[in-house]
């Protein structure tokens, strides 16, 4: 066997090591979060760390198994896996167990499986397979198909409803962009986000119309400002732009004003009619529009208090107090980062953030070195997914992102997510190990 075909020798060591470090650090952290000094058995299956240890064993077994699967099979099975996960997502709506108002679980004793956590893996494979067959994502048809691949599972997950997990699929926009989606789409998305935030911030305020006593509501005020800017732009175009370009720019200005007006109205409508009360509240809290430390902002305030109380070097392993007595809600799942912050301090949190950053950069680097289009796009999918999880999960615990219930990979308690991320990384490592031998 030549060195090129020796898969074992070509496994990416840094990635493997980082995976194992994250896995074990994550478990140690769960142990601390659920630690009860009166009953300190490591393999107590009634405790979260006991179950997590079982999930860890399952993940390691699955991860090793997946390293033995020949790379081309991932491509061959991509659509099959996608179909199976879609079927599971449909099935869970019918016979799933309802936890916290979402029908998202298949229960097996005290262990639960959450098929939505496998959706990102399946979507990544299916999307990669589709995109790798194209030259670039430039024509309308391919855009529609790839959007459909992404949105199909999203729709099913929204039905559970589990908005947080559904939002993770936003990561695939980055993949589409990388594969040729116009940058204007990204730009428009950012603009739209900016505009909606602005309109929501101004929503509850009102302004007096200049020189009169008539009050003006926030969105109307925003529209007026946009109108003023448009008028200014019109003056600029009329006086400073050569004549043959003027007509087109007038068009842009009109389209811009009209679409802004429609968009602001749309945001208002969506906010009032589409979103649920708790989602509205979360957004308002994040935007600083609602200050209620014992109510909705409570989670974020408690979580920041726990992290902040860790100081520079933390209180020491197992010695956190705020993350023990359930001060922080969901302390072992969505807010697990608080335990890191409280017990390991800034040194610990910075280390975790940097470790994840290095992991993502390494995956991008791996993506770059592929001759196989399939592996390259797949790697990019994995990087985007990890990036989104890191951004939202850590962001929300430190008050920089709205509270969206998605896990921090390998740290949050939960077997499905651990297995899901293990599959993502394992597949990548296997595909990458074949980079020298086969071309796909």
């Amino acid at each position: 066997m030549s060195a090129r075909e020796n898969v074992a020798a070509n496994l990416d060591r840094p990635l493997l090591v980082m995976y194992l470090v994250l896995l074990f650090a994550g478990w140690a952290n769960i142990y601390s979060a659920a630690y009860d000094p009166d009953h300190a058995g490591i393999f107590d299956l009634d405790k979260e760390y006991g179950k997590q240890a079982v999930w860890m064993a399952i993940s390691l077994t699955l991860g090793s198994a997946i390293l033995l699967v020949r790379g081309h099979l991932f491509r061959d099975w991509a659509n099959g896996i996608y179909a199976v996960v879609i079927a599971l997502l449909a099935l869970v709506l019918l016979i799933g167990k309802e936890v916290n108002g979402a029908k998202a679980w298949f229960g097996v004793g005290s262990f639960g499986i959450q098929p939505a956590e496998f959706a990102k893996y399946a979507t990544a494979l299916a999307l990669t397979r589709y995109l790798s067959g194209l030259k670039a994502l430039i024509d309308f048809r391919s855009r529609v198909i790839s959007t459909a691949i992404i949105l199909f599972p999203v729709a099913l997950i929204m039905l559970q409803p589990d908005t947080g997990t559904a939002l993770v699929s936003g990561a695939f926009i980055l993949v589409l962009y990388r594969e040729g989606l116009s940058g204007n789409v990204l730009l428009l998305a950012i603009l739209a986000a900016f505009l909606s935030i602005l309109s929501l911030i101004l929503k509850e305020s009102s302004f007096d119309l200049p020189f009169t006593d008539r009050p003006l509501s926030g969105p109307l005020f925003l529209l007026m400002v946009i109108g003023l800017i448009a008028a200014l732009a019109w003056l600029v175009v009329r006086n400073m732009v050569i004549k043959r370009l003027r007509k087109r720019l007038y068009g842009y200005i009109v389209v811009g004003v009209v679409s802004s007006a429609v968009f602001i109205g749309g945001v208002d409508y969506a906010f009032e009619k589409v979103l649920a009360q708790h989602q509205r509240d979360r957004i308002l809290v994040m935007l600083g529009q609602m200050e209620d430390p014992q109510g909705l902002g409570y989670n974020v305030k408690q979580s920041q208090t726990a992290i902040g109380s860790g100081g520079f070097s933390g209180k020491g392993y197992l010695d956190g107090t705020l993350t023990k007595f359930k001060y922080v809600p969901m302390q072992s799942t969505d807010f697990i980062f608080c335990t890191v912050g409280e017990e390991w301090g800034f040194l610990g949190t910075a280390a975790v953030v940097i470790l994840f950053t290095v992991l993502i950069l390494r995956i991008i680097q791996i993506s770059d070195r592929q001759r196989s289009r399939f592996t390259r796009i797949y790697a990019y999918c994995v990087a985007s997914i990890f990036f989104l999880h890191l951004m939202i999960n850590v962001g929300m615990t430190i008050g920089l992102a709205p509270v969206i219930g998605i896990p921090l990979p390998f740290f949050s308690y939960g077997g499905s997510s651990m297995i899901g991320f293990t599959l993502l990384l394992g597949t990548l490592i296997r595909l990458d190990a074949e980079r020298l031998s086969q071309l796909r």
Binding site: A136, Y177, R178, I307, S309, G311, I360, S384, G395, I398
Partner: protein, 617 residues
């Protein structure tokens, strides 16, 4: 088209987010003190509420056991700051070195869990200490209660509290090291009812250790459940008098209400003051009591097994009459060559046989019970058949098995049946001639005092009894325990008991009876004396009685060890107690004084082992 360059957008985004996060984390964790202040303002503490242990009352609602508050000083090492060890040591009157050792031990045990640094401070002492506690962060008082025994009686029966041992902690998750648990007596038997259920509260405390309110409106708290009170059938006056009468003597008194099976008094002597086993002095005192040669911790009323002696003749009579092997006018000559006896006229009826306590008479009675001639070929098999029937009937008197009384660690005595002798001698290798000493309650027959008192109740009731029990009701005084409402009927017809009672009346009332000292003016007392053979010294005296004959209110067994015949000491003690219970007066103070002052334990040293008379024919 080549979109290669677009990867830098993602890389840039990742780096930007990472940078923002690290800066933000640096801000909230290192620079901004707001979050640390906020954290300090909401340190929570787990407070364990120990519910008050239930009280124990006598039959008239007087307290036998109550509680008195004490405080444990707890320390949480991680919260200790600027600790002035010397001043604190002076405050709680503990040597500085000792205090340092305890603080080290606490840190070693856990820095975030509370440890005890000083146990069981009385309420007055704690009041003086608590005003200074605010200057010692991390130290706080936790209240608990100790037992107190206002009348200072009934140590054996009541039991005491002790710290749980490691085995119990491992076996029962309710208990944690340092918890107390009932040991012996009612405290042990009714542990779960008395202790109630511990509660846990989570409270918020500020940096000065002041409680700022409950944590999350008590969502994680569990309420403590108060311990239940025990309402016993004990008569405090009688119990107290009984213990006084028995002082300087070894023995026991068990008195029952025959109509209900309630224990009226339960005395084991030598007794000990229950206050000796409370709190910090318990361990020292326990050691002293345990090493004492007169064994004050030994509960003779429940655990001392004696041969029943002559009292067993009453049971033999009933069995024989019910089986029809004798009738009420059967007469046997007092043939002292069979078994020794004293001088008395020939007994011509069962009443007289009881009155004279004629040994040869009951030798014949037991002979007829055992040798029924059911198996004509082998006297060995015949004896086994006869004794088997006898054993069944005798056991129905509540003998030969542990009484179902609500107290732990008691003995059941022994009623030797065919199985017992087959084990001892081998099948077909024993007959009446081997076992005849059982006829007069000697040999292998063993009973405990509580069984003898129950026997008296059976005689009083003419053939039935309720299981003896100390506690009438748990919780509410009227909630009588159901399991003690089950009537046991003895295997002997009521009519035979008339003759037994008449015999017992004569024992006390007529000339030639052995218990004339038990007589009480105006009350018909029925009794029977007995002598439990003691191979180690003077025999033990027993007196079993009930009164009044017409409508029995009390049944009693009195044991006085090493005092010879039952009539000398046991009968007058019973008499005084019966009078106290029935009339609430003492008409013979000179008798009481003499009994109280008699010191049989001191005399014991001069006793010699008397030579045993050969009893074989």
């Amino acid at each position: 088209m080549n979109f290669e360059g677009r990867k830098y957008v993602l890389i840039a985004a990742v780096l930007a987010i990472a940078l923002i996060f690290v800066l933000r984390l640096f801000w909230i964790q290192v620079v901004d003190d707001q979050w640390k202040a906020s954290a300090a303002s909401m340190a929570e503490r787990k407070i364990t509420d120990y519910p008050a242990r239930g009280f124990i009352y006598d039959r008239k609602g007087r307290l036998l056991v109550a509680n008195t508050p004490v405080y444990d000083l707890m320390v949480v090492p991680r919260e200790v700051k600027d600790f002035d060890t010397a001043a604190f040591a002076a405050l709680i009157s503990v040597p500085v070195e000792e205090l340092k050792l305890r603080m080290t031990a606490a840190r070693k045990y856990s820095i975030h869990k509370p440890s005890v640094i000083e146990k069981q401070i009385t309420a007055e002492q704690f009041a003086a200490i608590s005003v200074h506690l605010h200057s010692y962060a991390g130290v706080y008082g936790q209240s608990r209660t100790l037992r107190t025994y206002p009348p200072r009686v009934g140590g054996h029966m009541l039991g005491y509290l002790s710290e749980v041992d490691a085995r119990k902690v491992a076996a029962d998750p309710y208990y944690k090291a340092g918890d107390v648990i009932g040991v012996g007596g009612l405290e042990q038997y009714y542990e779960e009812q008395l202790r109630g259920r511990r509660g846990v509260r989570y409270v918020l405390v500020d940096v000065h250790n002041n409680i700022k309110g409950s944590f999350k409106e008590g969502r994680y708290d569990t309420l403590a459940v108060e311990g239940k009170d025990l309402h016993t059938g004990i008569d405090l006056d009688m119990q107290r008098l009984g213990e006084q009468l028995m002082q300087h003597k070894k023995g026991s008194i068990v008195a029952l209400d025959p109509k209900t099976g309630e224990v009226l008094c339960l005395v084991s002597s030598p007794a000990y003051d229950p206050e000796l086993l409370v709190g910090r002095v318990r361990n020292t005192n326990y050691g002293i009591l345990q090493r004492d040669s007169i064994k004050p911790l030994f509960d003779r009323a429940l655990q001392a097994q004696y041969p029943p002696g002559s009292i067993f003749k009453l049971v033999q009579s009933l069995v024989a009459l019910d089986e029809g092997v004798i009738n009420v006018n059967t007469s046997f000559a007092c043939n002292k060559s069979l078994v020794g006896c004293h001088n008395h006229p020939t007994a011509t009826s069962i009443e007289q046989a009881i009155q004279f306590s004629c040994n040869p008479y009951f030798y014949h009675v037991f002979d007829r019970i055992v040798e029924r001639k059911l198996d004509k070929k082998s006297r060995f098999r015949d004896a086994a058949l006869g004794l088997g029937e006898w054993e069944h009937r005798v056991r129905s008197f509540g003998l030969g098995e542990k009484p179902k009384i609500d107290l732990p660690s008691l003995k059941g005595g022994n009623i030797p049946g065919p199985a017992y002798y087959n084990r001892k001698y081998g099948e077909g290798r024993w007959a009446f001639s081997t076992i005849y000493s059982v006829s007069i309650g000697q040999g292998e027959v063993l009973t405990v005092p509580i069984q003898m008192a129950n026997l008296a109740a059976i005689f009083a009731n003419k053939g039935w009894y309720y299981d003896p029990h100390v506690v009438r009701a748990v919780g509410h005084p009227d909630s009588v325990q159901a399991r003690y409402r089950e009537k046991h009927i003895v295997e002997a017809a009521p009519q035979w008991f008339d003759h037994i009672q008449e015999g017992m009346r004569r024992v006390v009332a007529e000339a030639g009876g052995t218990a004339r000292r038990a007589r009480i003016e105006g009350i018909t007392v029925c009794g029977k004396t007995g002598t439990a053979e003691n191979p180690h010294g003077e025999d033990h005296a027993v007196f079993v009685c009930f009164a009044p004959m017409e409508d029995p209110q009390i049944a009693m067994a009195v044991y006085v060890e090493n005092s010879g015949a039952g009539g000398r000491w046991a009968a007058p003690i019973a008499s005084v107690l019966i009078e106290q219970y029935l009339t609430d007066t003492i008409t013979r103070p000179e008798v009481v004084k003499e009994l109280i002052e008699t010191d049989l334990i001191a005399k014991e040293k001069f006793f010699r082992k008397k030579p045993k008379k050969p009893r074989r024919r």
